[in-house]
Symmetry: C2
């Protein structure tokens, strides 16, 4: 998605070879028009798969799940990171290790909102180590729902996340794929043809 | 907002006189069409105030801030609940006590994204004790931005939140105001005329 790559070049702050800040337009301050366009792109890629629900994890996936849900005309669900007192019923859950925050947590969703009749698109802001996304895929498998694929806004292709998902046979589509980066320099992988590749999974 | 009140009557689970679950359509599984309509309603109420940014707090305010941002044509910002390693620069912050989770936390936003040139609409899913909203108002005051008002999806009018905000002279508009509730029973306050009252603040 060229407009996204350009925005990352203009506003992204590369703090190290692994840390990219995009909080001026994606995950702290959020450009609503760009986010809606991101949702449309996900719908263009996965829209022929009869998706019934979009799934993400709080907090920074929510705006993209919302945008994808708007474009696909379906509800979205966000997994919670810890059990609140109002989430008392049966849940699907999976353990996740956050490398950004250096902590372990559980993600969970109510069993009421996902089941064998659903076809799910998982979306998130970043695909890096894949930890949270693998947890979401485990939750979808546990629920008996079909997994249509995983859509990510930005992929750090030099980290292991894509490999972990592809090993499981999961279609993965990222709108901006970073081959490598260092302060002042960023290289994207050309996405052309990936949609077809993804569709063939 | 009648359609919202009806949905709360149909799907809301009243667990006690203070705890209402709306996680089938608002804050776990999210009805995207209803959420967009909620954003339009906030824009109808506050749209004449030259708002430049919508502000909320992660996680369950994000979809409503997104919807309000879409309707107003402006970006939104979500305050973070703890400092991530990628949020290293100067922040505005405020302490908050969560009665739902029984814990204290800091909310913070980067100083880069709010300043004296901004006019801010704060939105959130619930107005109850008002703790998080007062924290957000403090952050807006600290930034030097103008506060256009606070918009909430559901207000528990029997709790102190509205009073705390009105004491500060802040216009408050909630789309569904609950006068009282108990399992199997819920009473709403008629919202008619409140917009005018709010506009006069």
């Amino acid at each position: 998605m060229k407009v996204l790559e350009e925005r990352i070049r203009q506003e992204g702050l590369i703090l190290s070879e692994t840390v990219l800040k995009v909080d001026s337009f994606l995950n702290h301050q959020v450009d609503t028009a760009l986010t809606l366009a991101i949702g449309k792109e996900f719908a263009a890629v996965f829209g022929d798969r009869q998706i019934t629900k979009v799934l993400t994890v709080e907090a920074s996936g929510i705006q993209f799940a919302m945008a994808a849900g708007i474009a696909l005309g379906v509800p979205f669900i966000y997994a919670k990171k810890k059990k609140a007192i109002t989430l008392s019923e049966a849940v699907y859950s999976a353990p996740v290790h956050s490398f950004t925050r250096q902590e372990d947590y559980q993600i969970s969703i109510s069993q009421k909102y996902l089941g064998p009749d659903d076809t799910v698109l998982i979306v998130d802001d970043f695909l890096a180590t894949g930890a949270a996304l693998v947890g979401l895929c485990d939750i979808v498998a546990e629920s008996g729902a079909q997994l249509a694929g995983v859509g990510c806004v930005i992929e750090k292709s030099f980290q292991e996340g894509r490999g972990l998902l592809e090993q499981r046979g999961i279609p993965v589509y990222s709108l901006a794929r970073i081959a490598s980066m260092s302060p002042g320099e960023i290289h994207f992988i050309d996405n052309e043809g990936l949609l077809k590749e993804c569709a063939g999974c």
